[in-house]
């Protein structure tokens, strides 16, 4: 914690509403502490803008601990900025040099409609979860927690994928605007556990179907998503999703309606 003060030039995308035209505006961020986070630097700038009677820059943020997934935008064309495995709220100004010029813009993807400035609408990701990103178990239905042992390697794989924070960096970094990394992370999380295997095939078909319906693009395996992921979700997850989808498509059996026991 050896604090220094630096000055930066920011070119920030400003757009009042979804339909209004947007443009880059240039701001000088002065006397920024290197101990501040990127968002605290924006707070400082916003404070100045409010004092001057200007409209502050809108950006999503909440926990500021890198876990809620609210924040995220492009810094010089990189999702969440230059530091690997880091969301923008955990990116500290000591990673920048005095006098640097930074271009700051929102996620850009067909399936993430614009809201304002650096904010976009990522609710498409929730709708993918809604389409099978769960295990169907009602409250009270569960057997003892230790009734089904789960091999440690499977539990670890489930955990590694479950870490996804749904920030949308993968989509924004993909030239196709694909949500494959996000979707596959949820799928692999659930499919690798014995509890989740029962619905694995149905899940693969419905989640992929919803992903396409939302207008997310296809995956061409460039790996840009995984490189930008603050939680280091592996590209292997996409391969596993493709395999699960293929298997489910070939295995698809007709569902008997009204099959409940009388």
């Amino acid at each position: 914690m050896s604090e220094k003060l630096i000055n930066l030039t920011l070119k920030v995308w400003r757009q009042k509403t979804k339909s209004a035209p947007g443009e880059f505006k240039t701001y000088e961020a002065k006397k920024v502490s290197t101990d501040s986070s990127f968002l605290e630097m924006l707070d400082q700038l916003n404070d100045e803008l409010i004092q001057k009677g200007d409209d502050p820059i809108a950006f999503d943020h909440d926990c500021r601990e890198g876990i809620c997934g609210s924040c995220g935008f492009m810094i010089n064309g990189q999702a969440h900025g230059p530091l690997k495995s880091t969301s923008v709220c955990q990116l500290h100004m000591r990673n920048f040099n005095d006098g640097e010029v930074l271009t700051v813009e929102p996620w850009r993807a067909t399936a993430f409609p614009m809201i304002k400035d650096l904010m976009t609408d990522r609710t498409g990701l929730d709708r993918i979860v809604k389409a099978g990103g769960y295990i169907s178990v009602n409250t009270g239905n569960a057997p003892d927690g230790n009734a089904v042992p789960v091999p440690k390697v499977d539990a670890d794989e489930a955990f590694a994928n479950a870490q996804c924070i749904a920030c949308g960096a993968c989509v924004a970094s993909c030239k196709n605007g694909s949500a494959s990394l996000f979707t596959s992370a949820k799928m692999v999380h659930l499919n690798s556990l014995p509890q989740g295997k029962v619905e694995a095939e149905k899940r693969a078909l419905s989640m992929v179907g919803q992903m396409d319906a939302e207008g997310f693009g296809a995956c061409t395996s460039t790996g840009a998503c995984s490189a930008a992921c603050p939680k280091d979700i592996s590209l292997v997850s996409i391969a596993k999703m493709n395999r699960a989808f293929l298997k489910a498509s070939l295995n698809k059996k007709p569902e008997v309606q009204g099959g409940e026991a009388g």
Binding site: P56, D126, G145, A166
Partner: protein, 637 residues
Amino acid sequence: MSKLDSKAPSGPIETKWQDHRFNMKLVNPANKRKHSVIVVGTGLAGASAAASMGELGYKVKAFCVHESPRRAHSVAAQGGINAAKNYQNDGDSISRLFYDTIKGGDFRAREANVYRLAETSVKIIDQCVAQGVPFARDYGGLLANRSFGGAQVSRTFYARGQTGQQLLLGAYQSMMRQVDLGNVELRTRREMLDLVVVDGKARGIIVRNLLTGELESHEADAVVLATGGYSTVFYLSTNAMACAVTAAWRAHKRGAYFANPCFTQIHPTCIPVHGENQSKLTLMSESLRNDGRVWVSKVKDDKRKPTDIPENERDYFLERIYPSFGNLAPRDVASRQAKYRCDEGHSVIPGGEGVFLDFADAIKRNGENKIAEKYGNLFQMYDKITGENPYKHPMKIYPAPHYTMGGLWVDYNLMSTIPGLFVAGEANFSDHGANRLGASALMQGLADGYFVIPYTIGDYIANTKLNPVTPTHDSFKEAANNVQGQITKLMNIKGTRTVESFHKQLGRIMWNNCGMARNEKGLTEAIKNISKLKEEFWSNVRVPGDANYLNPELEKAGRVADFLELGELMCRDALDRKESCGGHFREEYQVDGEAKRDDENYCYVAAWEWMGESKAQSLHKEQLTFENIKLATRSYK
């Protein structure tokens, strides 16, 4: 002053909940779909309640301020969740978890609620495992446990340092399944700004659509608030930026009593403050105290590097003062001792406040790999925030506001003083008394949401005559006008000071006077200063932009307005409670630096009733009786 009825059932503590469930009226499955429930907040308590009630067949409407329910602040809980499974065969039981929680809360919680919590804890783990929560496991495939502050058994289940996130995803996914099935209607980016009370019963809410600025009225047969705690009253806290008291406070102003507002928890292991522009503090999980040793130099203002300070010149103060619990002393105790060391001049940060949390011994004993496996992501987070490598240098930590035990008063059924208004999770006051034990917040949120509210709300609906209401009812119009009036007022002040500057100033007043140590003089002054600040706020705040579109400054202004009123009440409550207990430490009442409780005069829950603008709240008491655990001085020595 009236007496509050906890409605705790009679009979032996072990069968109270079971008997109560049998005595409750049920709503038959066909009728459930005719009844609607509003759930505000989608953290652990809210999402689990919405999912479970959706499964039962109620028509549920769920609301959250976030873009997605998965972003609720439960997501940030790190360390774990307690459950009396006794998988480790180390002597745990429901009775022991019950005992630890009552004692940890310094005998200021209701026995019946706490017993039910301990009893329910067992089922929570089962439920979460079935949902696919990837808890840590041993090589045999069975669930792993670790120990946590205030307990001598290993009963904490965890998913590395991200337990809250994983439990929330479990609850969120269950809720999304109900959204998919059409049983839960989800409305995101909505902030509740008023409660609608019709014929004395909670029947709806007014929310602001944060994207369009539009006010919406929603009606239901019952309302559940699961809107979290109010630590952000201190401005700097470990809570997320959008955490607020607003929903609870607006309900308070409609008649819900606010209980024990001064019971707040200051968490001992947070990353110290770096400077003026800091927006929030980051917690380092308490689980770190399993392997980390807390110490300061015995020399005042020691400028040496920690590695240059020889063993015999170090004060491992928690191990010294509390030999049987050592570094795992409960949060309030550990925080206070860190404060004392810094007050005495032993801070490890020049010009600031901090103590060391050192892993050198654990790394020597177990190797860096083993430590990385347990705490890797926490160490990485520390490195990112401070720019220092905790494998090489001891961490620097200091206490920070983290959790609020106080909240809206609820009875055994988790119903507030307004019939039909239920309160779950951190938003209620019920289970933690004057201090919460680590890994118990997740447990309580999920117990309330999965296993308590779905039952008690059915009993309320089955026993209550609920006439149909629509948003055209006068009470809805009055509430909507009230909200619109406040928004217009805030927009029209057009003063010179930012919302943030008021919040920061309030935070400083609260931290200095109503934080880790409190006294009569400080509290009295704080009340005066808050009152002045409130006056200035309403005449000089600047809210830029437009109320009819996304406006984060307007959102914050409404929240700070409520914090100003809450802050005053917290100080009054702290002033009124002339004893020390748990997180509430009155400097006038101590023995050798430890809290001096006064069971004769203060063994009660203080529940405050709103009496109208510019009038002081009036105090109601719920007397606490301890039939199963003997009132005793809490000792961790």
